[in-house]
């Protein structure tokens, strides 16, 4: 509730709404770029940005000596869900929904130690492999709202290490424990998961405490199986495992994979990735 109060307060000012509109048009702006055309002092804009950051409507990231500002639309979507869509429906329906939500038994994922996801893609195995490994592809569909597209820098040979590169924010995640475990083009690829370095955490909006807790967990691994399913269709299975029970990292990746794989499928089948939500 306190968070929502902060969001409403942040949105109540027209100048702050204008700043959000600017970031919506073009994300990743410096303070200087945001000040341009606002008709306000640099100090005023900076104060407004502080309020927006407090409300988590804006996230920042350092790129060299510059500080870039990024829009986080999630709190606004939460408001729309809670305060707008909710009132579209009849009160009776809203109460029925509430009843359903309260009665529904939540799925208990706490003992899971793996996330498994299967999809079918109308593309040749070589293309799916390319989609998973080639930066020209990964940068287009494997994206984060703040850090942008990801690239894996490696020769993809079994035993080789890999770096994770986020060009948009000038971040490289390097660790000798980031290793290619299996590489059987175009059938099976497996690698250990990347380290949650302090720089990675900062670029993705996680605080150091969370990142440290994630680093304390055993290193997980991901495996991709590419099987021909007939008629030029590939069955792609992703198994991300090696987690201890009640893993916080698993909770995070479980939400991420469907979006990444759905966007890969759309890119391979239509030539364009899913628009970033």
């Amino acid at each position: 509730m306190q968070e929502m109060d902060a969001v409403f307060r942040a949105l109540s000012d027209p100048a702050r709404r204008r700043l959000l509109d600017r970031l919506n048009e073009r994300n990743g702006l410096t303070l200087g770029e945001l000040c341009a055309g606002m008709g306000m002092t640099r100090q005023s804009v900076s104060k407004h940005l502080d309020v927006l950051e407090e409300a988590q409507l804006v996230a920042t990231s350092r790129r060299g000596r510059q500080k870039l500002h990024y829009l986080n639309a999630a709190p606004i979507n939460d408001i729309a869900d809670r305060w707008i869509h909710h009132y579209d429906r009849s009160r009776a329906q809203a109460l029925a929904d509430l009843k359903t939500a309260l009665e529904a038994t939540p799925m208990d994922h706490s003992d899971d130690t793996a996330f498994v996801y299967t999809t079918y893609i109308n593309a040749a195995p070589e293309r799916v492999w390319q989609g998973l490994t080639d930066p020209a592809f990964t940068e287009r569909y494997w994206r984060h709202p703040v850090s942008g597209g990801v690239a894996y820098r490696t020769d993809w040979e079994k035993g080789s290490t890999y770096d994770v590169v986020y060009d948009q924010v000038g971040l490289v995640v390097h660790d000798a424990e980031q290793v290619i475990l299996e590489s059987d083009p175009f059938r099976r690829l497996a690698y250990t998961w990347h380290t949650f370095t302090p720089e990675w955490a900062a670029a993705h909006g996680f605080d150091e405490a969370t990142a440290a807790a994630w680093r304390a967990e055993p290193r997980s691994k991901v495996a991709f199986d590419i099987e021909e399913a007939g008629e030029g269709v590939v069955k792609l299975t992703v198994v991300h495992d090696g987690f201890a029970p009640k893993s916080a990292v698993l909770d995070g990746v479980r939400g991420g994979w469907p979006a990444v794989i759905a966007s890969l499928k759309t890119l391979l089948e239509t030539g364009a990735a899913l628009p970033s939500g």
Partner: protein, 166 residues
């Protein structure tokens, strides 16, 4: 993974109304919701809470109709839920199940499916399917767990490219 339920999330480059159509309109379902031996399916129904729904496989002249096949919730285009169809002897025969397997399938409780459709940004729908109510250790959950990714991949391809998966 819960041993009484299956859940799957995908993102489709289409507005929720269109995804809802994909799940309910016979002209669409027939094209992507296909069984190996029984061909395309359609689900004639009023799609209102309390309505019945039938399972129709035109290609093999099969209709599965049961008053227990009901729409539990219908809030287009956001949420749809219904009880699963009966595994009638005719259905089991055409699906290629042995009598023994069919008996095991019929022995369990009637499952139900729920679809959540949420618009994410410009014309992208996050679709979450939860199929639950299974008896733990029964044979139906593994079978539908195999089936759903293929069905939902087919829906996505049809809506995004205009043609079903080959």
């Amino acid at each position: 993974m819960d041993d009484t339920s299956f859940t799957y999330t995908t993102y489709v480059a289409a507005v929720p109304d269109r995804v809802w159509q994909g799940l309910t309109d016979p002209d669409l379902t027939r094209r992507f919701w296909r069984h190996r031996t029984m061909g395309g399916k359609s689900f004639p129904s009023e799609w209102k809470k309390g309505s019945r729904w039938d399972l129709v496989h035109e290609d093999v002249g099969l209709v599965v109709s049961d008053p227990e096949q009901v729409i539990l919730e219908a809030d287009p285009p956001r949420r749809l839920s219904y009880t699963w169809h009966t595994f009638t002897p005719e259905w089991a025969a055409l699906a290629g199940l042995s009598e023994e397997t069919a008996a095991a399938w019929c022995a369990g409780p009637r499952s139900k499916v729920a679809y959540e459709l949420e618009e994410r940004g410009r014309s992208v729908t996050r679709l979450t399917v939860t199929h639950d109510g299974f008896a733990p250790g029964g044979p139906v959950l593994p079978a539908i767990s195999e089936g759903w990714p293929a069905v939902l991949s087919g829906l996505k391809t049809l809506l995004e490219t205009g043609a079903p998966l080959p």
